[in-house]
């Protein structure tokens, strides 16, 4: 299987550039700068240095024995939660911020849902002395006040977005509107492996270290490749980041777990591949949650980071070709897995990542039956759960009323 995208940034029938002509110049400039940077040993060395000495990668591949016993499979966790800023996203923002610097752009803009990508962007901007503006839906600024404070402490400007549904997709719209007017001086630091070409490819490559490391680590550890790799899928960056190195390994099954919310059948979910249809959103053809008229439908998930009505085009393609399998995981399943990891391993995962854990637990018996032995599954633990403690505390009712109020005030 050749590594897409092929010409014009298409993954089969997906991807491409469905953007105003005004952005084409900037996308071409970005692509050219990226192709050069990819060949430039100085750029690669700087990126590698920041990843190692600033972000704390390679992240560990941890043999989660008590979790493994509980789910009936050997589970290895790729500990992206231990990275600086607490998630895989730091890899992408460092790469893109270096690219912005290379293009001579002194300002970066970003969209954010829960605030994780916004915080990561603000972090990279502080490190590289770039001006940073983060667009965030007004609803999300209220739900995630702590992250708004973090971004401001890091020197970023947070712009609450008051149009449309006032959530992530609208923040993305406003970031694109800003970019149309500011392309000369500004790089759009897109937060996931979605959007118009070349973003899906660039983001995939910057986070691709996850899979490259995991593959080396498991070969060194067990002498064999895993039976399956599992990740949660929002826009798709952590999933494509861990999948990519394994795509040529045909014996390795790839599983992406989308946010099933209340259940795909209820219509309240964020499962674009399993519960949506082919369409165009935010610059690319991909799977989209939409109504009969092609209007985007609001997504729902307990996890803000997965609460997005689209998905990166390479996942749409991996789904169509059958190379990867996508399934929805409900809020309830994810929260059960969240609790299981806390209790068996002493690790509080991001609720996003808990979707991958729940999915791994679901496929374990299936794989065991198929293989006739204990399966080996690498799960991308894409982030840590500090940001989710309030949501989880409320969900599990572990706080009494007074504590709830204090927590609410803190957030």
């Amino acid at each position: 299987m050749t590594a897409p995208p092929q010409q014009k940034g298409h993954f089969g029938r997906f991807g491409g550039r469905f953007v105003p002509e005004a952005l084409v110049g900037a996308l071409d400039e970005l692509e050219a700068a990226y192709r050069e940077a990819k060949q430039d040993p100085a750029f690669q060395a700087r990126f590698a240095d920041l990843l190692t000495n600033y972000a704390g990668t390679p992240s560990l591949l941890y043999d989660a024995e008590r979790l493994s016993a509980a789910v009936g499979a050997k589970i290895l966790l790729k500990r992206e939660d231990l990275n600086h800023t607490g998630a895989h996203k730091v890899r992408n923002v460092l790469g893109q911020a270096l690219l912005a610097q290379r293009m001579g752009k002194r300002r970066v803009i970003a969209e954010t849902g829960a605030g994780q990508h916004g915080v990561a962007s603000a972090t990279a901007a502080a490190l590289l002395d770039l001006e940073c503006v983060v667009y965030m839906g007004e609803v999300d600024t209220e739900r995630q006040a702590l992250n708004v404070a973090r971004m401001r402490m890091l020197g970023a400007t947070v712009v609450p977005v008051t149009t449309g549904s006032r959530t992530l997709k609208d923040a993305l719209n406003d970031a694109l509107r800003d970019w149309v007017a500011s392309v000369d001086t500004t790089h759009y630091l897109l937060g996931t492996a979605a959007g118009p070409h070349p973003f899906p490819e660039i983001v995939r490559d910057f986070v691709g270290g996850i899979g490259i490391e995991a593959r080396e680590q498991i070969l060194a550890r067990t002498g064999a490749l895993p039976d399956a790799v599992a990740a949660c899928v929002g826009g798709g960056s952590n999933a494509i980041g861990i999948f990519h190195a394994f795509v040529p390994d045909e014996g390795v099954r790839l599983f992406g777990f989308e946010a099933g919310g209340d259940g795909v059948e209820t219509g309240r979910h964020a499962a674009s591949i399993t519960g949506g249809s082919s369409g165009v959103l935010h610059g690319a053809r991909t799977y989209v949650l939409q109504d009969d008229d092609g209007q985007t439908v609001d997504s729902h998930s307990i996890s803000a980071g997965l609460d997005y009505p689209g998905v990166g085009p390479e996942h749409a393609w991996l789904h169509d070709t059958g190379r990867a399998t996508y399934e929805p995981v409900t809020d309830a399943e994810a929260m059960a897995a969240f609790q299981l990891l806390c209790r068996t391993e002493g690790i509080i995962p991001a609720i996003e990542s808990a979707h991958a854990l729940a999915g791994a637990a679901r496929i374990a018996p299936r794989l065991r039956a198929e293989l006739g032995r204990e399966p080996v599954i690498v799960v991308n633990l894409s982030g840590r759960g500090d940001k989710d403690v309030h949501t989880a505390g409320a969900y599990f009712g572990v706080l009494d009323e007074r504590e709830e109020i204090v927590m609410g005030e803190q957030e």
Binding site: K8, G16, R17, F18, V19, P20, E21, A22, V24, G25, A26, T163, G164, K169, D170, N173, L176, R177, V180, A181, S182, V183, D184, G279, V280, L281, H282, G283, R285, V288, Q290, D292, D293, G294, Q295, T296
Partner: protein, 266 residues
């Protein structure tokens, strides 16, 4: 009347064509039809019907709000076709402006067919560049719908020539790097962009949009463009009016002012 005839007639009169925009179904289906007819009656040569879309990335706050209102009121793609039919059947030239996904969802060929049947002469595609438009170009050619793609100050000469080469009817020149919305001054980049388009194709009519809000600005743009496209300023007349009657009164007044502007080449 075909768009070519509209531009031909204006040229003979040594003036620009005035294109006035209004979202379909804003604030209601009937209201939008009445608004469009009032605009045409007061001097808009062409009505640009905009199909409301949930994620209009090329649009500023006014069109975003009007689209949200139309969608919240439940407007459907088939209502947009009905509105086009109602306006076109009165002899008003109509073009549709639409983001791409609703067309893809409807079925590209079926949409071109139904758009032609409704009486529209062409379609403007703000987020569809010719590079991705193979299916649309085939359908539009088959059903004789004019194709208007956008060019921008940031377009290279090469892209500009390629894009203009794919247009039929007129090309839409976005006057500045930004989204829709009236501005206090006409963009300095616009005359240069139009000159570059003319070098690529001296015969393709050029409509200039983004930022024009009053008669004086319309006159300024009319000095170098074949068409002046006005959206947000007109839509605001309805958005800010207490009722439809007052909105239409303001629409007529502004349309008349703009129509005078496009005849007032400095």
């Amino acid at each position: 009347m075909s768009i070519a005839d509209v531009f031909g007639k204006a040229k003979a009169e040594n003036r620009s064509v005035l294109v006035g925009c209004m979202p379909a179904g804003f604030p209601t289906v009937e209201g939008s039809i009445a608004s469009m007819l009032a605009m045409a009656d007061a001097g808009c040569d062409v009505i640009e019907v905009e199909l409301p879309y949930s994620d209009p990335v090329m649009d500023g706050p006014v069109i975003q709000r009007a689209s949200d209102i139309a969608l919240a009121a439940g407007v459907r793609t088939r209502d947009t076709l009905r509105i086009i039919e109602a306006v076109a059947s009165r002899g008003v030239p109509v073009v549709l402006m639409t983001y791409w996904n609703p067309i893809e969802k409807y079925g590209v060929d079926a949409f071109a067919r139904d758009l032609a049947a409704a009486g529209a002469t062409g379609m403007i595609t703000p987020d569809l560049i010719p590079d991705e438009a193979g299916e649309w170009i085939a359908a539009a050619d088959k059903h004789r719908i004019d194709k208007t793609f956008l060019v921008s100050p940031s377009s290279t000469d090469e892209r500009l020539a390629m894009t203009v080469g794919q247009c039929r009817g007129f090309v839409y020149a976005t006057a500045l790097m930004g989204v829709t919305g009236a501005r206090t001054a006409v963009s300095r980049q616009a005359p240069d962009l139009v000159a570059r388009i003319r070098r690529a194709d001296p015969d393709m009519p050029v409509g200039v949009g983004l930022g024009v809000g009053n008669g004086a600005q319309a006159a300024e743009v009319a000095a170098f463009a074949d068409g002046v496209i006005v959206g947000s300023a007109l839509i605001r007349c309805v958005l800010e009016a207490p009722d439809q009657a007052e909105g239409e009164r303001k629409l007529r007044a502004l349309s008349a002012e703009l129509a005078e502007g496009v005849r007032n080449r400095p």
